[in-house]
Symmetry: none
Subunit: 216 residues, 4 copies
Amino acid sequence: MRNTQQNNGDAKDRLIEAAGVIFAEQGYRSATIRKICQRAGAHVGAVNYHFRDKQGLFAAVLEHAHAWSVRKYPPDLGLRNEASAEEKLQAFIRSFLFRILGDGVPDWHGRLIVREIVEHSDALDRMVKNSIQPLYVYLKEIIDELLGNDPAGPDHHEQTFLCAMSVLGQCLNHFTGRNIVSRIKPDSFDPMDIELITDHITRFSLGGIRMIRDRT
Amino acid sequence: MRNTQQNNGDAKDRLIEAAGVIFAEQGYRSATIRKICQRAGAHVGAVNYHFRDKQGLFAAVLEHAHAWSVRKYPPDLGLRNEASAEEKLQAFIRSFLFRILGDGVPDWHGRLIVREIVEHSDALDRMVKNSIQPLYVYLKEIIDELLGNDPAGPDHHEQTFLCAMSVLGQCLNHFTGRNIVSRIKPDSFDPMDIELITDHITRFSLGGIRMIRDRT
Amino acid sequence: MRNTQQNNGDAKDRLIEAAGVIFAEQGYRSATIRKICQRAGAHVGAVNYHFRDKQGLFAAVLEHAHAWSVRKYPPDLGLRNEASAEEKLQAFIRSFLFRILGDGVPDWHGRLIVREIVEHSDALDRMVKNSIQPLYVYLKEIIDELLGNDPAGPDHHEQTFLCAMSVLGQCLNHFTGRNIVSRIKPDSFDPMDIELITDHITRFSLGGIRMIRDRT
Amino acid sequence: MRNTQQNNGDAKDRLIEAAGVIFAEQGYRSATIRKICQRAGAHVGAVNYHFRDKQGLFAAVLEHAHAWSVRKYPPDLGLRNEASAEEKLQAFIRSFLFRILGDGVPDWHGRLIVREIVEHSDALDRMVKNSIQPLYVYLKEIIDELLGNDPAGPDHHEQTFLCAMSVLGQCLNHFTGRNIVSRIKPDSFDPMDIELITDHITRFSLGGIRMIRDRT
DNA sequence: TATGAATGAGCCTTCATTCAT
DNA sequence: AATGAATGAAGGCTCATTCAT
């Protein structure tokens, strides 16, 4: 019985792991169940058995990836409680970049989620509600603080929203645009130097936010 | 005979137009030759006949789209010669946003290219060399001017590159992240209000660039 | 141990009951072991364990259904011993209609058998020998009596056979043709009004048999 | 070009012919596209190309079968204009039996339609409206005449309907119940002797209808 | 030159059955 | 005795591409 559960868990986990890699590399459509099962050392029926169908497997992979991602890189990783808004912003950006540019072993997690953001799917809706929304709310708080907005004021200023988009857009671009980036970047630039990118985006964003604040 | 060639040319054009719409909407894999030919009013063999295969059609569409896009929205659209760097940046951003968010009738051009940037394909390499590179060089000049860098100095500062990425990333995000954006945006925000977005990104970027300049 | 056997027996019975409903509703091919086991609250291996395979389950269901059916609706239900041939015919028809059109809770028995009659399967042969044949013999006796044939005469007159077919055909048609019937029937007609149908078929058949008898 | 059309027509026709046989023999579910294409000497994609999908092929087969059937065996085949109601009834029954019991080369047509009547499918609805309804109306007229009903009277007497069911049921039973029939029939009876069956059902039905008429 | 019928590899999915526990 | 995870053959369907005309 111990063995049964272990086998069960193993097969499911191996399937998720393999599917994550393939989905991240090739996208939902191009990824085939056969390729995934082959990589996982399972049979074609295994996906149907464990996840009902391809969509089910995909949803499971997304969920797993995001859970893992947030657990490993919480948005406020390594911050003191009384950290300044600037420090919070930097921590958020670093955490976000780590998640999408990867460094740990299963480095497909962030890539998969970003691909999903671009591609759109039904599984996205649930993920947004459960995962993205809280992340966005947290970022919005930081930006509101930097903008000097009244935290008890009305929700969803366009201003705050646009600044959040600017921050997120800079980060995401290093993944979504990586094919272009790798072709026009200066030779000295290492696309995986997350600390360097973090510093730049943080500084750039602080300047941007300050400009927005002073202008209004 | 004149008629034949004309029909031929018409068919080719109609195929490119139809393929552009379908590719932009559904991506390369999901787009089928049959759907494209149906929309173009052509027969199923037409694609293979005129473009050898699906890839060939796709390459033709990409080429056409970029040429059309740059012709309609040149990066310095509507600028006086002696415009300031700030004005040039704003014109560049507006032009870029128009291209990827669309407004004219065949508004699929930019979307297609952006999709291509994210998706990666063999046709990308040629396009980068022919189209993206010049655009990037132009943006880099503007930023160098704003940063106060010596135009005769060494090429490809990391600093300039990162600032360019920050500008482009903010713009692209409004397209690539549109699925997420539409879910977390405040109700008052219109994702297609290009002027509003242009103003924000310009201001934010000027603030960011200034911060980078002053800090270094 | 008592408990085990009881559970076993229960599971078998529940499987037969569930399988009967599903087979009757969806036919042999469309019915899946998983659907049956789910309805029976059993595990997927139970069918193979208790009945060897799907065919075995089906045979068991058929057997059970016919036994139950005849027990609940004997062909001479409610008749005095000295009943006339006309009364026997009416009782036979009513009993037969009840069996195939159902009225009690497990009303799938007759429907299943009828479906089997139309569909054909290997399990049919045994059922015919055990169940249909006696029923037919009984009906033939009634008809022979109505035709005035010598009971000690030669078996299997074509005449008697054809009359039996006419009687059975009229009854069966209300089940086998129910999809058509429901579309062309007058609004006032209730396809489940077994007494009405019984009266009609009895009268119609008596007229038919008399005509056959007089003509020969 | 002549050849093209011929090939085209041939492939479609061969597919319909093959599908008809397989559907009639094995039913919709058990019939596989691969079996049908193999018999037709076509490839698996042919069904999709010509009929969109399995359902489309099935609908085409049904349509073809019924059209052929009615054309070859019109309900009033070989009747003088001033034929009596009895003669019309006999012609109707013979025509109907020929259609469902077959005798010509593609003898699967009627069998297929009857199977459809029992099985039910979405394609049935259209067929009922187009084909069965007119047939039923014609039969009803004959029966109304035999019953002595006022032709200008109210439509859809239950009485007429039940008599029509009795006639149709007797005919259909020789097909739907053929598996049983072949096991309990007397040796002397030939299940394909349509003239004999026609005579019996006609006589039996005339007796039945008369009985109904006189009783009311 | 232009057509569209025909091809067939490959996809996702279903399902009865097996087998280790 | 009973379980349910795992198997793999087979099904319907899609689709880019070919080829005779």
